[in-house]
Every structure is written in structure tokens, then in C-alpha cells.
């Protein structure tokens, strides 16, 4: 696992990464299974999103606070703000094939 830009955040970051990776690996395969109907998929996504919050929410908050403080100290805040304004990237890029196009 990669380190944080701030050594004091690295232990929290590693804990958070482990938590996410474990959750993610359990999430992915069932989410790929295309047989489910739209309501079933939505129910699954909602349930797993809630599970992620329950499992990793606490460590996420601790890690996030640590990183935000470090970014401020290093004066990186304005760079991030500017990058977000120039490219919000809130939605996935468009123009891709849909699953029905694929074999």
C-alpha cells in the first residue's frame, strides 16, 4: 500500500485502504452479475453502500481529517480547489459502449 503524503497519516491511510479493499472485493463480483434486474441491482448497491459506511466510515473520517490538515499545512489546498473548478469530473466520461453491445 502506498504511503500518504504526510507520514503521520500513513498508518490511518493503510487501515482505510485495507478496509476499502476488503469491502470492494466483496462488492465487485456480485455487482458485475448481469442477471439481476434494475430494482435488484439498486437494492444491492444501496445495501453495499451502507455496509461500506458502517465498516469503513469511522476510519475514513479519521484519515480524511489527517489528510485535510496536511494539505492545508503544505499549502496544497488552493491547487486542489483550482483543479476541481477546472475539471469537476463528477460524472464518468461519456461515449462508451453499453453492455448490450458486448458479447
Amino acid at each position: 500500500m502506498a504511503d500518504s503524503l504526510s507520514p503521520e497519516c500513513t498508518p490511518l491511510k493503510h487501515k482505510y485502504d485495507s478496509c476499502f479493499n476488503e469491502w470492494f472485493e466483496g462488492y465487485l463480483e456480485p455487482a458485475i452479475a448481469a442477471s439481476a434486474t434494475q430494482p435488484e441491482r439498486e437494492a444491492y448497491s444501496r445495501q453495499k453502500a451502507a455496509e461500506f459506511e458502517t465498516k469503513c466510515g469511522k476510519i475514513w473520517k479519521e484519515y480524511k481529517t489527517c489528510v485535510h490538515d496536511s494539505l492545508k499545512q503544505k499549502g496544497l489546498d488552493p491547487l486542489i480547489q483550482q483543479a476541481r473548478e477546472e475539471n469537476p469530473l463528477k460524472e464518468p466520461p461519456a461515449g462508451q459502449s453499453t453492455p448490450s453491445d458486448r458479447v
Binding site: F24, E29, A31, S45, L71, P92
Partner: protein, 180 residues
């Protein structure tokens, strides 16, 4: 403006590549990436798409004239936004430099999509452009350096990720066969 693109197939199923994405660094082949931080992450309860915003810290010595003209240090930061869409088996990753961004931008786009059940297509494109209004020959020089650096890192990134995927899934296969 310079364009770069490469297409490559990883011999792993899409889900393995996407799991491997989070294990790519630290990587001895990509030693210029020294830190990664997650700034934001959300799971869309409707679509199941995971969006992650990360900051990658890179260390790479810039030529002296670039440091003199444009300032900056060895530490450079890149903002990366990824979307993982399990339903459509699509992962897209956009990266933009934050450091030196007042002089030049390097916008990179990566896609992972299934090529077959055990093979994943990787597409990488980048646009590198010095901003208008800076001295032309300096802008050209800066662009050239960024392109060189990008191409080198793109090559190493591919090799490095190949190693990570092989190691990750070989290890897990061994664990499984031991457990069986």
C-alpha cells in the same frame, strides 16, 4: 499540443484488473510515485458506480532550466478521478497535473474494459499542452520534456502493473490451492 496513446491487453479478467488497480503502488518500476491519498470516495446507490478522487505525489527531477524558469520543486502532484462501473464493466480514470499547471497541462485518460472473459483492454490517451501566453520556445521545451516524461512513465506503468497483477493473482491462487 502533443497527443499520446497506447492500447494494450492485460491477460486477466476485468474484475482482477480493477481490484489490482488499488494495489499498483508502491511499485519498484514506478518509483516516481511516492504517495497516494484518497480525498473523496462515494458509492452511487442507484448505479453502483464508485467514484474516487485521489492525489498522487510524484518525485521526478526536472531539468534545471525548467526549475529556474517555472519554479517548482521535485515534488509534483497529480489529481486523479476514477469511476468504476461494475454493471457496465467499465473503469475510467482521468488525471490532470496540479503542479506547473499554470504553465502546462497534461490530461490523461485511461479505460479498462473486458476484451474477453479473461482478458482486459487498456486504453491510455494523453494531451499535453503548454498554456498560451508563455514564451514560445520555453513552452515548446516544457512540452517536450513533459511528453518525454509521460511516455517513459506510461511505459513503466504498464510494466509495473503487469507485475502487480501477476503477483497478486498468483499469490491468491497459491493460497487457494493450499487451503483446498
Amino acid at each position: 499540443m502533443h497527443f499520446f496513446s497506447q492500447v494494450y491487453n492485460y491477460n486477466h479478467p476485468w474484475s482482477h484488473v480493477v481490484i489490482g488497480m488499488w494495489h499498483k503502488y508502491p511499485n519498484p518500476k514506478c518509483s516516481h510515485v511516492i504517495s497516494i491519498d484518497v480525498l473523496d470516495r462515494s458509492v452511487d446507490p442507484k448505479t453502483g458506480i464508485i467514484r474516487t478522487e485521489r492525489i498522487l505525489g510524484c518525485k521526478q527531477k526536472a531539468p534545471g532550466w525548467i526549475v529556474k524558469l517555472f519554479g517548482g520543486s521535485e515534488d509534483a502532484f497529480v489529481r486523479e478521478i476514477s469511476f468504476i462501473d461494475p454493471r457496465n464493466q467499465r473503469a475510467s480514470i482521468s488525471s490532470v497535473n496540479m503542479s506547473l499547471s499554470q504553465f502546462a497541462t497534461c490530461v490523461e485518460q485511461i479505460e479498462y474494459s473486458p476484451a474477453s472473459h479473461d482478458c482486459t483492454a487498456f486504453t491510455q490517451t494523453a494531451e499535453i499542452q503548454a498554456r498560451l501566453g508563455i514564451w514560445r520556445s520555453a513552452a515548446d521545451g516544457l512540452e517536450r520534456w513533459l511528453v518525454q516524461r509521460f511516455e517513459q512513465n506510461a511505459h513503466l506503468g504498464k510494466l509495473g502493473f503487469t507485475d502487480v497483477l501477476r503477483r497478486l493473482w498468483e499469490e491468491r491462487q497459491q493460497l487457494q490451492s493450499v487451503a483446498a
